[in-house]
């Protein structure tokens, strides 16, 4: 990899932009949720305030090195994911390292964070954390399968595993993969619901049940780092989906619009649905999304 | 230096032993050893001569086909060597094992048995064969009942019962042959057998198969074997497995290859061999007595040998001989080890063997060694003979027996390894370390070393197998030498 100014700019600015957008989207979610519930809701920058507050906590505790490093794993995964996704199409600055990795790499680096967090949560020794991790990993198996099916369908269809190639294919909005391969999109977007962890797939953190699950022993700067990571990761996932299905974006306005529309799908679903149990959600992912995934592959093959 | 010594010396010794017994008990024990040592020396020194050109000895002055001949060919050389060597090892083992009086009877019978079996191997006369057969059998019946307990007597009686069937049928066959072609010389019979009408020939064949099949432990004629093996003293088990059966199967094969060498008979032998093998191994699986288990295993091995003979090609006969050799050694080793194991555990049951591996490390080691060897695992000698049998059977295009042999091998492995596990792993600590007498250990040690050496250099034995196999298969040569043509 060769280092030049555009790379450095990209490395510096992409996470910052991702953080800001992710945090704002998070705040927006809360506002929208509040409005749906006939409330006024917090200010749109509420999540930012929360994160700042968490960072400014004066005392922090951990139960050992792994808990200390757990959020670091998480943010490493988010930022790395972000770096390997072309944020802006054909931009020299915001494509970052997307030529050096491909979809399968992204699939794996995306779970890197969850695993790191799980290790951190494990070390706290809190039974709730362990229960949360158990649920989270089980659910992961659920939604990864249809997601991979969708990706495989797309990879076969366009004979590439690189995101930039996929972007190059979708040069006109009629050629967006969402239209070329709708079943793959369906499978992927249903899996995306699980990936985002909003209701009905929020059994992992289930606040009233297992005290927010894995992060239940995390506070202060650790929780702040986790929330930061979550914001960046949300944005990274949105950009990834935009790139795969919606033809990417050649400027920030388009990017924001597309990602926002995508983002609203899990958010609005989450507002109106109650929670699935773990096995229910796994069975859900292995029913319709899997079916769509199979159809997507079959459509491509024949 | 003549093959007659093989018969004469032990016979003489057998008659001498009761007399010496009046003088010295120790001498009684030593004399068989000296005799067997001498015979071993004799067999080894005669071996190269016999292999190159058969020695035919005429007894009582008449020329064949009228006189009685001894035919010392390659196969006889091989088998006498085997019998005398195994006999020597068995004597070594018996030296301390047979402590029950009257020992002179044991050694006398043992010598008789050696006489009989070497006689079977050597003789060129079918009636003489019968006579030696009777000597062997009667010695064997008595040895079975040697312990003079209820079980031994019962087993001996069963053996006697079935054995008298064998004698009767065999004698009947001889009578029919003689009535038809007026000769008793094997070579002569072989050249004239075609003169007998077909139906009579069939009848003779059936009578011989039954008569000799009983001693060769062919299913379903082997009912006597498990009892006899398990109730007789352990060295006698080794005698049966290592000597008697070998001689019997040799005589069966000799007669079949001389007189009835047709494809159908050979197929029949293969089928019988497979059945014998399978049923024996399956029955052995759930046996509760260790020596009974060994007996069934022995029957199974004989089935294997019968299969290999039945294939009837040169490599397969060679493999069968090799297997006979290995089986004689390994089964003797197993019987020796089992003898002391049973002796020390005080029970014939397998379940009584728990943890003996710690109490009696060396004996148990020999048993385990023998078990691994008889299953056919490399680098022990059993591996090569089994491999050769499989290769030759497959070469003859008989894939089904190959598969069945291997299945039976798996069963064999299972029951042997169960016993080995019991020996070593069912109890943690040694409770009562007892020593096996040195003579027994030496006997087992010799066998172990031979098994290992042959495992690494199978050529050592295989080298001599080719002439032996040819000897068995080459009917014309036998007739030629046997009748001095």
């Amino acid at each position: 990899m060769e280092i030049n100014w555009s790379t450095i700019l990209g490395i510096i600015f992409t996470p910052i932009i991702a953080f800001i957008v992710g945090v704002t989207y998070g705040g927006l979610t809360r506002v929208i949720t509040a409005r749906v519930q006939n409330r006024y809701g917090p200010p749109i920058f509420q999540n930012l305030l929360d994160i700042i507050k968490l960072y400014s906590k004066e005392s922090n505790i951990n139960h050992g090195v792994m808990q200390h490093l757990g959020p670091v794993f998480a943010i490493t995964a988010s930022v790395t994911t972000l770096f390997f996704v072309p944020v802006i199409k054909d931009s020299t600055v915001f494509t970052n390292f997307s030529f050096h990795g491909d979809l399968i790499f992204l699939l794996y680096i995306m779970v890197f964070g969850s695993l790191g967090m799980a290790l951190g949560a494990g070390q706290t020794g809190n039974p709730n954390s362990a229960i949360g991790v158990s649920r989270g990993l089980s659910q992961l198996v659920g939604y990864e399968v249809p997601f991979v099916m969708a990706l495989v369908a797309i990879m076969i269809q366009f004979q590439t595993t690189n995101l930039n190639d996929l972007l190059a294919v979708q040069d006109h909005f009629t050629k967006w993969i969402i239209f070329q391969s709708p079943f793959a999109f369906l499978a992927a977007i249903l899996a995306f619901l699980g990936m985002m962890g909003y209701a009905p797939f929020d059994v992992v953190i289930a606040p009233a049940e297992i005290a927010s699950g894995p992060p239940s022993e995390f506070g202060g700067k650790y929780l702040g780092l986790m929330l930061t990571s979550r914001s960046i990761f949300t944005f990274a996932k949105l950009v990834l989906f935009t790139d795969i299905f919606l033809g990417g974006a050649s400027d920030f306005i388009t990017l924001l619009i597309k990602t926002f529309i995508l983002y609203m799908i899990p958010v609005l679903t989450g507002i109106v649905f109650p929670r699935y149990r773990t096995e229910q959600s796994i069975r859900f992912f292995w029913s319709w999304p899997l079916f769509f995934g199979i159809i997507a592959i079959l459509v491509v093959v024949f | 230096m003549s093959p007659v010594h093989f018969i004469a010396v032990p016979l003489f010794a057998a008659f001498l032993i009761p007399l010496i017994g009046k003088v010295s008990k120790e001498l009684v024990k030593i004399i068989p050893g000296i005799v067997l040592l001498y015979l071993s020396y004799l067999s080894i020194s005669l071996f190269p001569i016999g292999v190159n050109r058969p020695i035919v000895e005429i007894i009582a002055g008449f020329n064949p086909p009228f006189g009685i001949t001894l035919y010392y060919g390659p196969i006889a050389a091989f088998l006498t060597t085997l019998i005398t060597l195994v006999g020597f090892v068995i004597w070594l083992y018996s030296y301390k094992f047979i402590i029950r009086e009257p020992t002179e009877k044991y050694y006398m019978l043992f010598m008789m048995l050696i006489t009989g079996s070497t006689g079977i191997v050597l003789t060129g006369d079918i009636f003489n064969l019968f006579v030696f057969f009777e000597i062997t059998s009667i010695a064997a019946y008595s040895l079975t009942a040697f312990l003079r307990d209820r079980d031994g007597a019962e087993a001996a009686f069963k053996y006697l019962l079935i054995g008298s069937f064998a004698s009767t049928f065999f004698l009947l066959a001889i009578a029919i042959i003689y009535a038809n072609i007026h000769t008793l010389n094997l070579a002569d019979i072989a050249s004239k057998i075609k003169d007998i009408p077909l139906t009579t020939r069939l009848f003779i064949l059936i009578l011989i198969i039954i008569g000799l099949g009983i001693e060769s432990e062919m299913f379903p004629l082997n009912g006597w074997a498990p009892d006899a093996y398990s109730q007789a003293p352990s060295p006698v088990g080794a005698v049966f497995g290592g000597i008697v059966v070998k001689a019997a199967i040799y005589s069966l094969m000799r007669i079949i290859f001389l007189m009835f060498h047709t494809a159908d008979v050979l197929h029949f032998l293969v089928v019988m061999g497979v059945i014998t093998l399978l049923i024996a191994e399956m029955s052995a699986m759930k046996q509760q007595q260790i020596k009974r288990m060994l007996a069934f295993s022995s029957i199974g091995q004989m089935g294997l040998v019968i299969i290999a003979f039945g294939v009837g090609t040169e490599p397969s006969v060679r493999a069968a001989m090799f297997q006979m050799f290995n089986h004689a050694l390994i089964k003797s080793l197993l019987f020796f080890a089992a003898g002391y194991l049973v002796f020390h555990s005080g029970s014939k049951k397998i379940s009584a063997l728990d943890g003996l591996g710690h109490d009696k490390p060396i004996t148990s080691f020999f048993f385990a060694f023998g078990a691994l060897a008889i299953i056919g695992l490399p680098p022990f000698s059993g591996f090569w003979s089994k491999l050769y049998i499989l290769l030759s059977v497959a070469d003859a295009g008989l894939m089904v027996p190959v598969v069945l042999i291997l299945i039976s091998s798996i069963i064999e492995a299972v029951y042997y390894l169960r016993v080995v596990s019991r020996l070593y792993f069912y109890k943690e600590e040694a409770t009562d370390v007892r020593r096996t007498p040195v003579s027994g250990l030496v006997a087992m040690g010799i066998l172990t070393v031979v098994i290992l050496i042959v495992g690494f250099y199978p050529n050592l034995i295989l080298h001599w197998m080719t002439p032996a196999a040819n000897d068995l298969l080459d009917k014309a040569a036998y007739i030629k030498f046997g009748l001095f043509h």
């Binding site: 505790i61 930022v79 700067k221 | 008979v265 069934f296 091998s409 798996i410």
Partner: protein, 616 residues
């Protein structure tokens, strides 16, 4: 003497000597074993450059041993792993008895493996295959009474495998009169199609048993579980690879010559896929760490078999890469588990917990191990998985890739459970006095950890010998650089960029979070957790370990209902019953026996002409 002779000679003589030395000079025993394995390692490396060949005539056969790139690959794997495990065994086994037995069989197993990998004919291969089998069997039953049925199961399955090999060998011999590999390979296309099919099936079956493919895997969990940990590492890492070695040989040297190769490939690949998936599912619900790893091992071998079966250059590369890597990481995991066992006396995941601060190095090893198994970058597992997926997708095995991916995702579950149960979680008072394993146990673990890290960054280091051995297997070429992997479509993953990014971000954020509020960040014990205000008592167990994946179990309950193991047990029991009845053929009654004789006589007389024919 050349290197191969040295290797075989030293190993076997060494094995015997160790046994003797154990009784004469117990102190020298371990040193001798280590020395033997070290010499082996030296000569194995020597053999690579030497290109040695040994021909030994034994009993009409020419036994040939030769170095080829493919052989060397496996030989080095065995030698390195053998050396490390023996090093590890020194302390691990120190409190056990019957060490002469242990080391002798250990070295016999090693020697058997060397014999297998260098062999160029089937007799020597089978010869050493059997030696390896019984040596490993004796080690499986080494521990205790409980091991006996397990060991017997292992032996029976091994025997089934070995004998199907033997049938194939015997068939090959009867077909071509020769058992030298080169001859057989060149003659193979002359055989009839059905013979080819039977031979290939039997050979695959034989090798498949050792690599525990799915319907034949039932021996593996128990055997891995019960054998002593140093050997388990070798068992799973190297011994099971002998199956892979054979499968590779059979597939590309024999099966590839025939027309039905593609069917064999597809069937084998799917068997591998199902193996991977089901073994993973079974692994998730194990409560014992070693059993979990055993099932994991079965699953990983499933991936390797898929890679071999697909048969594209990239997939073979991935399979061989995974072979080496699996040896490393499974050895690491078994060693870490062994270290836990060494200190706590159990590997039950429901009872051990919270050892991370007591056994940091074991934890790091286990962590590296699970990251490698899971295939998460930046460690070596990623490269292997990546190549496997890419090759599967590009060779149009779409549904197989889904199965593999599902298996590999589900693998996270058991991996997490493994490390969580042993090292993370509550630090119980019961394990307060636990210390880190001795140095000689830690060193092999750390060496392997370093290895997987290096391989993760520079997969090309290993891909060099792999591509050489692939050239030996057939004309397989694929594209790679030291740290860049390419698929057939030309897409790439630059491991160095990945590692740099991950490393940089991790370092920066890690430093920030460490130094932010450093003084007021404090460590609290795992008893000080949120328990709704309740104060945990000392004897109160807060560990969540039992039924860890109950929800998942409920979700996949239908799959788990039937177990292959039960079927086999049923068959075995029924057979034993049948045998038990059969033995009453021998009633012990003289009259019956006489009856048999008479029956047989009349049977023969009745059907005499039918049986013996008329041309007597």
């Amino acid at each position: 003497m050349n290197s191969i002779e040295y290797i075989l000679f030293i190993t076997f003589i060494g094995a015997g000597l160790t046994f003797i030395v154990h009784h004469a000079l117990p102190k020298l025993r371990d040193t001798l074993a280590i020395l033997v394995s070290a010499l082996d390692l030296y000569f194995v490396i020597q053999a690579i450059s030497e290109k040695s060949k040994v021909v030994l005539s034994i009993a009409d056969f020419h036994l040939i041993w030769k170095t080829t790139p493919y052989n060397n690959l496996f030989a080095v794997l065995i030698a390195v792993l053998g050396f490390l495990t023996i090093l590890y065994a020194h302390d691990f086994m120190s409190s056990k008895d019957r060490l002469g037995y242990f080391y002798m069989n250990f070295l016999f197993a090693l020697g058997g493996m060397y014999g297998i990998v260098y062999s160029q004919d089937f007799i020597s291969l089978f010869f050493f295959w059997e030696i390896m089998t019984w040596a490993s069997f004796l080690l499986v039953i080494y521990c205790c009474k409980d091991a006996q049925p397990i060991g017997l199961k292992y032996f029976v399955f091994s025997a089934i495998g070995a004998y199907s090999l033997l049938i194939a060998i015997v068939m090959l011999y009867s077909l071509s009169g020769n058992l030298e590999l080169t001859n057989l390979i060149s003659n193979f296309s002359n055989f009839s199609v059905s013979n080819q099919l039977i031979v290939v099936t039997l050979l695959l079956l034989g090798f498949g048993v050792k690599s525990a493919i799915m319907p034949l895997h039932v021996w593996a969990p128990g055997a891995y579980f019960i054998s002593p940990s140093p050997f388990t590492a070798l068992f799973s890492g190297a011994l099971s690879k002998m199956g892979i070695f054979g499968i590779g040989l059979v597939l590309f040297k024999f099966a590839a010559q025939s027309g039905y190769f593609s069917y064999v490939q597809i069937i084998l690949a799917w068997i591998g896929g199902i193996t991977a998936l089901l073994a993973t599912f079974y692994a998730i619900f194990q409560t014992d760490a070693k059993k979990l790893l055993a099932y994991s091992s079965i699953g990983q071998l499933g991936y390797i078999i898929i890679g071999l079966a697909i048969g594209t250059p990239l997939s073979i590369a991935s399979a061989l890469f995974l072979t080496i890597l699996h040896a490393a990481f499974k050895a690491m995991l078994f060693m870490a588990t062994g270290a836990v066992y060494f200190r706590t006396g159990t590997t039950d995941m429901n009872s051990v917990s919270g050892l991370i601060r007591k056994m940091p190095f074991s934890f790091i090893t286990a962590l590296f191990g699970i990251i490698t198994v899971s295939g998460v970058p930046p460690l070596g597992g990623f490269a292997a998985k990546w190549m496997l997926y890419e090759s599967l997708i590009q060779s149009r095995h779409y549904f197989l890739v889904i199965v593999v991916f599902a298996a590999s995702t589900a693998a996270f579950l058991y991996l997490y459970r493994f490390i969580f149960s042993l090292f993370l979680g509550q630090e119980e008072k019961e394990w307060e006095d636990v210390k880190e394993a001795p140095l000689l146990m830690v060193i092999p673990m750390l060496i392997l950890s370093a290895f997987v890290l290096v391989v993760g960054v520079f997969p090309g280091l290993i891909l060099d010998p792999i591509s050489q051995s692939m050239n030996y297997l057939g004309n397989f070429n694929f594209n790679y650089e030291t740290s860049v992997l390419f698929n057939e479509w030309g897409n790439q993953v630059d491991m160095q960029t990945v590692v740099n990014t991950i490393g940089a971000v991790f370092l920066i954020v890690g430093l920030i979070i460490t130094f932010k509020g450093f003084k007021k960040t404090r460590y609290v014990s795992t008893k000080d957790i949120h328990t709704s205000g309740e104060i945990p008592q000392e004897n109160e167990n807060l560990t969540y370990a039992v039924d860890f994946y109950k929800p998942f179990e409920r979700a996949i309950a239908p799959i788990l209902k039937s177990s292959i193991d039960k079927i086999y047990t049923g068959i075995a029991n029924n057979l034993e019953q049948a045998f038990d009845y059969l033995r009453y053929v021998y009633t012990g009654n003289g009259q019956t026996y006489a009856m048999y004789v008479v029956f047989f006589l009349s049977l023969l007389i009745l059907f005499a002409e039918l049986i013996f024919g008329i041309n007597l």
